[in-house]
């Protein structure tokens, strides 16, 4: 009996593992460990990424402000004394600089700080934006001239960096924007409560600022640019995507033309985004002469990019509507078109919406094509006045703005880039959360 012979050859007990089994079990455990390690690495990377973003970006939402009592001297701001707005407007920001110098000197004297700094050096602690802020205030309310008004100015970026530990006394030797004496003054002013870090709303609502004023730069205007682009994408990609999906899913005959369309769509989904940027530059700007840097062009390019995503998800949700619905509609005399538009489409709507939101989120974070159609490299200072202007006038977009800041080799702008990423991610997370909620709330299993 061969069976007997085999069992006889297998010496040892089943309860004791032999060397080969031990080896195999070790290999098994090792293999499983590799899998756990891979997942852990992935999670770890995500955690590092998020911690980095929040750790380095949270600072952008706080800004250092200096409080000063500024005497709005009549002989400097309104020589004729008649409060005529046209006259007051003639005083440029340079005319306001002496006021701030005196204000600073008085402040320092009032607190009783000994310093060798001149008034000009003291005023340098303020942002280059400060004079413009003051001027805007005076222009909006000329009756304040002659009085002393308490103001909260942005501090310049080195002071801000000092409070945020980005600038320290060791590395300012070659920095012509700040000196050790100035930092001494800053320390004294912090003690006196005149310099403090506060929440900075203008980072969220404001416009980008020039290279010399990182403290004044904000995301607001580029957010509007992104908003208008998303408007274009939504207005074009959703109807076109849904129409294309309905045709392909419900009407298209099986022939070579449909095959070509299908292959095209799946390939377009994988074309590098920068290629869409080249298309936008060549077709929309060079051929059609649409304005450079306009959110309309950005929106058109992103539409072409998002269409495949929307088509693929719409087709999936159309497919999930059971044929019995169509048959029932056809059975009571509806045409094919009516069965689709009156019955299938409403039932597929939640899925379509989910796909659209995810497509929009993808488009919102896309940067590369925007670089080619010129949505970087300039400062759009004012929010647009009308919808038409919002679509046609040059603007930036959130990711392009972040890229712009990342390129400026100044740590103060890096902080703003990270801060911008936080804002961008908040939008993306919100959109994805809405998509998930929609799916949970309305998804129907047939």
């Amino acid at each position: 009996m061969t069976d007997m012979a085999d069992t006889a050859r297998h010496k040892g007990s089943l309860l004791v593992q032999d060397a080969r089994t031990v080896k195999r079990n070790r290999a098994e455990a090792r293999f499983k460990m590799y899998g756990i390690a891979a997942i852990t690495i992935g999670m770890l990377m995500l955690a590092i990424l998020l911690v980095t973003i929040i750790g380095r970006g949270a600072g952008a939402f706080q800004q250092t402000f200096i409080t000063l009592d500024v005497p709005l001297l009549e002989d400097k701001l309104d020589k004729n004394g008649n409060r005529d707005l046209a006259d007051i407007k003639k005083v440029s920001t340079f005319g306001y600089a002496p006021l701030m110098r005196t204000a600073f000197e008085e402040k320092v004297a009032a607190i009783g700080i000994e310093t060798k700094l001149s008034g000009k050096d003291m005023a340098n602690l303020l942002s280059k934006d400060a004079a413009a802020t003051l001027r805007d205030f005076v222009l909006s309310d000329p009756s304040q001239i002659g009085q002393t008004v308490s103001f909260t100015f942005l501090a310049q970026s080195r002071v801000d960096g000092y409070l945020k530990d980005r600038v320290d006394r060791d590395n300012i030797a070659n920095d012509k924007n700040i000196s050790a004496e100035q930092l001494d003054l800053v320390d004294a002013l912090i003690e006196a409560g005149s310099i403090e870090k506060k929440f900075n709303l203008s980072f969220i609502t404001g416009a980008d600022a020039s290279d010399a004023r990182p403290e004044a730069a904000g995301m607001g205007v580029s957010m509007i640019g992104s908003f208008f682009m998303m408007l274009v994408v939504l207005a074009l990609a959703l109807p076109i995507g849904v129409a294309a999906s309905i045709y392909l899913e419900e009407f298209a005959p099986k022939n070579w033309i449909t095959d070509i369309i299908e292959v095209n769509i799946s390939n377009l989904a994988a074309v590098p985004s920068i290629v869409f940027g080249i298309l936008g530059l060549a077709v929309f700007i060079n051929y059609m002469h649409l304005p450079n840097s306009a959110p309309l062009v950005g929106g058109l390019v992103l539409t072409l990019m998002t269409l495949p995503t929307i088509i693929i998800s719409t087709r999936a949700s159309l497919k999930s509507v059971p044929p019995s619905i169509r048959d029932a509609a056809l059975g009571v005399g509806a045409s094919k078109m009516q069965s689709v538009f009156h019955h299938v489409l409403p039932l597929a709507a939640p899925g379509i919406l989910t796909g659209t939101i995810i497509g929009l989120a993808q488009a919102l974070g896309e940067t590369a094509p925007l670089l080619l159609i010129g949505m970087v490299g300039f400062i759009a200072s004012n929010p647009p006045d009308s919808i038409a202007e919002g679509l046609m006038s040059p603007n930036s977009a959130m990711p392009a703005q972040i890229y712009e800041w990342a390129k400026r080799a100044d740590p103060a702008f890096y902080e703003r880039a990270w801060g911008g990423i936080i804002i961008l991610l908040v939008f993306l997370i919100t959109m994805n959360a809405i998509a998930v909620l929609l799916r949970r709330r309305f998804e129907r299993r047939w």
Partner: protein
């Protein structure tokens, strides 16, 4: 008559056509009900279908012609004007395109002059560059013209404006006639026996077909836009240098070395490192999630991993430039102050920086695609292997992976195509120096980075230094398309095996 039609701007024209369509809907619907003697049951279709049919007849041909006309008119007018330009007026080193943009600007300026009432149309036609300083006049109304306006340019601009206004007038007239004609036609067709629903549905179907073919149009647009400019590039630059040369040194004074090879090397090297990171991690993650993990772990880990794919690439770019790059420098650089005490790396941007970060980005691509493919392997194969006494890992290695191999190869190819086309990470993380070198700590540059740098800022579409971006783009497109088609082919072929 021309003046009257020209006073109607395009948006107003569109609004007029749409208003006419609404009017058509209402009147024809009423007429349909009336033609049935007030009884909707004798009509073939619901009354609203008659109305929709009328609106369709009014708006669709008119707006379609308008759109086509808007697309084609600038081209035809431009060609007509170029023919009249004397050859010698094209300055040394400039191109027809540059001159035409001048002509267009002057023509726009003349338009503004007329619009603001500074001149009448007749006066603009009798302008003379010798007697009037047109540049100053235009500057007064806020139109900035770069150079002094030469007589031929002015003549061309006058012709341009002339042709444009005439064409605009014809356009408005024809669009309105079409809309009214549609109205009349729909009016005549409306009778109880007319199958309005079928007509409307045929129209809707046509719209659906057009929407679906937009995908083809986009692809054609991509290929043509890049092909034409690439052909222009190869006219100006030797193709042998582009494909076979060894150095990339654009020089805007001309005589540049524009070879794709160093860029291709940088692209492939970075993609290779990215795949070296992403493939093992992604594959093992997929195996663990599909074979070992319980439903709870899976429900948490899979979406978390996929967040990595949803993060915009600009975030990864910044992460590479400001976090990973400096970290790598502190490990592999700074000589004795560094962690390893070596001095291999000097700047934050390098092949390794970009490759590592891109690898992180690609993990979810590899893992979720492989996950699907591993799940598609029939359970019977696993059961058979377990029945023979294999451990779980032996089953995975000797049964599941070989069965899933084609699909996994497809997934890796898709990830590779993604890596080759990735832009923001390499723009910020890889550096700008084109070279062929094996050292991963050096900065290198990629195809996508060069496309961005050649096409941003002031671009002159007559110089090979700008046009090369289109040739690079076309190469990139062909490369990624090839990888995608291959990957899809492999995946599809494999799926059929088990279905």
């Amino acid at each position: 008559m021309t003046e009257l039609f020209n006073s109607i701007s395009t948006p107003v024209l569109i609004l007029a056509v749409l208003a006419l369509a609404v009017l058509g809907y209402l009147t024809i619907r009423a007429r349909a009900i009336a033609s049935g003697g007030g009884d909707a049951r004798v009509l073939h279709s619901l009354p609203s279908y008659y109305g929709y049919n009328a609106a369709m007849f009014i708006a669709v041909p008119a707006l379609l012609v308008l759109a086509l006309w808007l697309l084609i008119q600038p081209m035809l007018v431009q060609n007509a004007v170029i023919d009249t330009l004397p050859a010698e007026s094209i300055a040394e080193g400039a191109s027809v395109n540059l001159l035409m943009s001048d002509v267009r600007r002057v023509a726009d300026g003349l338009e503004t002059l007329v619009a603001q009432g500074v001149m009448t149309t007749r006066e603009t036609l009798t302008l003379d560059t010798k007697t009037t300083d047109l540049r100053a006049v235009l500057a007064d109304v806020g139109v900035a013209v770069g150079a002094q306006i030469e007589a031929p340019v002015l003549a061309a601009a006058q012709k341009y404006r002339n042709l444009s206004t005439t064409a605009d007038a014809w356009r408005t007239a024809i669009v309105l006639v079409l809309a009214l004609g549609g109205f009349a036609l729909a009016f005549r067709m409306t009778a109880p026996s007319f199958r309005a629903r079928n007509a409307v549905e045929a129209g809707i179907k046509a719209v659906l077909i057009i929407a679906a073919s937009l995908a083809i149009l986009t692809t054609v647009g991509i290929v043509l836009s890049m092909l034409f400019e690439s052909i222009n590039f190869f006219r100006l630059h030797d193709w042998r240098d582009f494909f076979l040369g060894s150095s990339w040194a654009p020089n805007f004074r001309g005589d540049s070395n524009l070879s794709i090879l160093p860029l291709l090397w940088g692209t492939l090297y970075i993609s290779f490192i990215a795949l070296l990171v992403a493939v093992p991690i992604g594959l093992f993650a997929a195996i663990y999630l599909s074979e070992y993990a319980g439903p709870k772990v899976r429900a948490v880990a899979k979406p978390l991993l996929e967040i990595l794919a949803g993060i915009p690439t600009i975030v990864y770019g910044l992460f590479a430039l400001l976090t990973v790059g400096p970290f790598l420098v502190s490990v592999f650089g700074r000589g004795d102050n560094g962690m390893l005490g070596v001095d291999w790396m000097s700047g934050a941007t390098s092949v390794l920086t970009a490759g590592l970060v891109m690898g992180i980005m690609l993990i979810p691509f590899v893992s979720s695609l492989s996950d699907d493919i591993i799940n598609a392997v029939p359970q019977s194969m696993r059961d058979g292997s377990f029945g023979l006494g294999a451990t779980h890992s032996e089953t995975v290695r000797q049964v599941i992976l070989p069965a899933a191999l084609p699909g996994i190869v497809g997934a890796i190819l898709l990830a590779a195509s993604r890596a080759i086309g990735e832009t923001m990470i390499v723009v910020l993380g890889a550096g700008a120096i084109a070279r062929i070198s094996g050292n991963p700590f050096e900065a290198m540059t990629t195809i996508t980075t060069r496309i961005v740098s050649q096409l941003t800022g002031d671009t002159d579409f007559a110089s090979p230094e700008t046009l090369v971006a289109f040739a690079l783009g076309l190469t990139l497109f062909v490369l990624t398309l090839g990888l995608n088609v291959l990957a899809l082919y492999i995946v599809r072929k494999y799926r059929e095996q088990y279905e």
